[in-house]
């Protein structure tokens, strides 16, 4: 039987796999491409029939400046930075020690706490929103950064993730540290945390993207623009009553998405490693 050399087989395989990957990538990227194209189109061209990638007149300036000036988008993005940073900081402060306690320390309540964490994974934010809202209101805390951040201080996902990650951390190193005289807190601070950089990166990507993009909760607890987060800045262009300004909406979307893509690109290597090392099994 005549046979093509292995190299050719492999080449064909690679071409086929690229073909499917590009097809998939096309599917994934389609909305982004359209977002960018729309963000540089004048309103009248957005709906011209057909799929003409190149706009006949550029309205990038108008759309982007409208996105930035009509709503205090920059202010919102700054709020977003503060809120995401605050949430992430508290989440890490809670989840790293919590994850360590669940993974490496033995205490009687451990299974109960872990059970609660697993339970928490299934509870969507909508369930707890109203009681927390009322509590915040009674404490006179609405319209504060604190109110936007509070429900997310607890990330059961984070606790779970760090627990999984720490599970695979060599027990011997912790033993060595105890022999060396580290207190448990110092083990967390000086041994566990530096080793958890990939997990922190992975977690940060999830945390930042979801709270940067969150619309639901900020809309409930903030009524002034002082604390609003980025998606609220886009709401102004999306109006069911009078019709949406698609160009500015997409420009706004592009503006607020860009930092996240940068964050992801920056953390990508660590992120993938973090996910891999937490051993999703």
């Amino acid at each position: 039987m005549a046979r093509a050399p292995l190299r050719t087989d492999r080449l064909i395989g690679s071409v086929i796999s690229h073909f499917f990957l590009m097809l998939g990538a096309g599917f994934i990227l389609l909305p982004f491409v359209w977002m960018l194209l729309t963000s540089i189109r004048p309103a009248s061209e957005v709906f011209t029939a057909g799929f003409n990638p190149i706009p006949s007149s550029f309205a990038a300036g108008t759309n982007y400046s409208e996105a930035l000036t009509k709503s205090p988008l920059l202010q919102y993005m700054w709020n977003g930075v503060l809120v995401c940073a605050g949430i992430l900081a508290v989440q890490l402060l809670v989840a790293i020690p919590g994850g360590y306690a669940l993974a490496k320390l033995s205490f009687r309540a451990q299974p109960v706490v872990f059970g609660l964490v697993l339970f928490g994974l299934t509870v969507p934010v909508q369930v707890t929103a109203l009681p927390i809202y009322i509590a915040l209101a009674n404490l006179n805390l609405l319209n504060t950064y604190f109110a936007i951040m509070l429900p997310f201080f607890l990330s059961v996902f984070g606790i779970f993730l760090f627990r999984q990650f720490f599970k695979s951390f060599p027990q011997e190193i912790i033993h060595a540290a105890r022999l060396d005289g580290f207190t448990e807190a110092e083990i967390i601070l000086r041994i566990i945390t530096p080793s958890a950089v990939p997990a922190i990166a992975a977690f940060a990507v999830f945390s930042i993207t979801s709270h940067w993009n969150d619309l639901y909760w900020p809309l409930i607890v903030t009524t002034s623009a002082d604390h609003a987060t980025p998606p609220l800045g886009m709401m102004i262009f999306r109006d069911q009553e009078t019709g949406s300004n698609y160009g500015a909406l997409m420009a706004g979307a592009a503006i607020i998405t860009a930092p996240l893509i940068l964050v992801f690109l920056f953390a990508q290597r660590q992120f993938v490693r973090g996910i891999t090392m937490t051993g999703v099994k």
Binding site: A43, K70, N138, L139, N143, T223, N245
Partner: protein, 428 residues
């Protein structure tokens, strides 16, 4: 355990004792906190408020974030009522005014306007507002709100497509029969061209259904709001119209926004929409085609009416120190200064009689005849109806499903109507 303790215990567990509220508002003169729905309205609200503040330096207007819909705004206000976080002034959708004013009156968290109107005097009243407009904000015998934005459904059409189909843009049909005939011709112009679109089967509320029933001279409920009233032949005519849109008007049952987008793209001949979207539609259409508007046909020329969309301003503050400023603001926004801006920005109909005068909107209307269509419909505008009870949204959802059944031909229209009446009655 009563509600109070329930809520207090809810608060108790969250008593983290970490922060005190740091909402220290700069108090130079009076500050009014204002909430309106639709972030898209921010533009004209800000402009109006700026002008107001320039004229009234002692008053500071500050806006909260805008809820994206009337429903969400309503929910926001109710939550804030619970927690005493209410703004001083709020713009409520007309259909939500009855529950809002009733609940807040009960809680003592709203100020009715009768005494202010009395102070201004009747002459002022008649000079500025038509009684029909004022009535939109009047419930249980009290003036609860000053109407701000009002709208009626109108027809938008694509002049080029109408012409191509042999229609006359200058004499747009004023009967459904004429509309459907024209729509069918437009539809025949090409595979990718639709004749007619009205998102009655997919819209958010039941405004279009109300328009169909009212324009046929029908009623949704009896005067006591106990019994469903659209089970009659007028209701049947209304529901039959939906079926005819599909059969005769060749309407595709697209999702609402997609139907609208299709019109923007110049691929739909006739679109039924609120006049409120005129400005946005004009912008979106741009140079794609020539946008024209026409009046909504009244099947019953004498008793036919149209529901008034839009919103009215309520004063929620009960603080005597703020009331005067709030009333001044109320007068301003519903007066010619406010209305001029709002109309130009949206396409809404003015609520102020004065605003229609030459120095305000007169010139604008002459230059933009599309904007006058709805003004012509003011005489037939009536209140936007809201169902009583707990299930108003559910009623609307169920009705919409029934309308779909009729339009999709899955059930004879008469049967659907009977079912729809029964479903509605069951939920009241």
């Amino acid at each position: 355990m009563d509600r109070r303790t329930l809520l207090q215990s809810a608060a108790g567990f969250a008593a983290l004792g970490l922060m005190s509220p740091m909402i220290a508002r700069a108090q130079s003169g009076v500050e009014l906190v204002v909430t309106h729905c639709f972030p898209g309205h921010d533009g004209f609200h800000t402009e109006i408020a700026n002008a107001f503040m320039a004229a009234n330096p002692d008053v500071k207007i500050s806006f909260t974030n805008s809820p994206p819909t009337y429903e969400e705004g309503h929910s926001l206000i109710l939550r804030q009522a619970l927690t005493n976080q209410l703004p001083d002034v709020y713009y409520s959708g007309f259909h939500l005014l009855p529950p809002l004013s009733r609940q807040l009156t009960e809680r003592g968290q709203i100020t009715h306007l009768d005494s202010f109107l009395a102070t201004e005097g009747d002459a002022w009243k008649t000079e500025n507002y038509s009684p029909r407009i004022l009535d939109l904000g009047n419930f249980d015998g009290k003036q609860m709100a000053m109407p701000f934005n009002t709208s009626t459904p109108i027809f938008y059409f694509n002049e080029e497509l109408v012409t191509q189909a042999g229609g006359d843009p200058a004499n747009f049909p004023d009967t459904w029969e004429g509309v459907f005939e024209l729509a069918a011709k437009i539809d025949a112009l090409g595979d990718d061209v639709d004749g007619f679109y009205m998102g009655i089967h997919t819209e958010a509320g039941d405004w279009f259904w109300q328009a169909l029933v009212y324009s046929n001279g029908g009623e949704l409920m009896d005067a006591a709001e106990k019994t469903v009233a659209f089970g009659d032949e007028k209701g049947l005519a209304a529901l039959t119209l939906t079926k005819r849109m599909v059969d005769e008007g060749k309407m595709n049952l697209r999702e609402n926004q997609q139907g609208v987008q299709q019109f923007y793209a110049g691929k739909t001949g006739i679109l039924v929409q609120s006049t409120a979207g005129l400005r946005a539609t004009t912008d979106s259409v741009g140079t794609n085609f020539t946008l024209r508007t026409a009046r909504y046909p009244l099947a019953d020329a004498t008793n036919g009416r149209l529901p008034t969309g839009g919103n009215a301003q309520v004063i929620l503050t009960t603080d005597p120190a703020k009331l005067d400023a709030a009333w001044r603001f109320s007068k301003w926004v519903s007066g010619p200064e406010g209305q001029t801006v709002a109309v130009k920005f949206s396409g809404y109909m003015p609520t102020s009689l004065v605003a229609e005068q030459e120095q305000y909107l007169g010139a604008f209307y002459k230059e933009n005849p599309n904007y006058t269509t709805s003004v012509g419909q003011i005489p037939v505008a009536r209140k936007w109806f809201g169902y009583p009870g707990k299930n108003s949204n559910k009623i609307i959802d169920i009705q919409r499903e029934n309308i779909n059944l009729a339009m999709r031909g899955e059930m004879p229209v008469a049967e659907v109507l009977a079912k729809m009446v029964a479903d509605t009655q069951g939920l009241i």
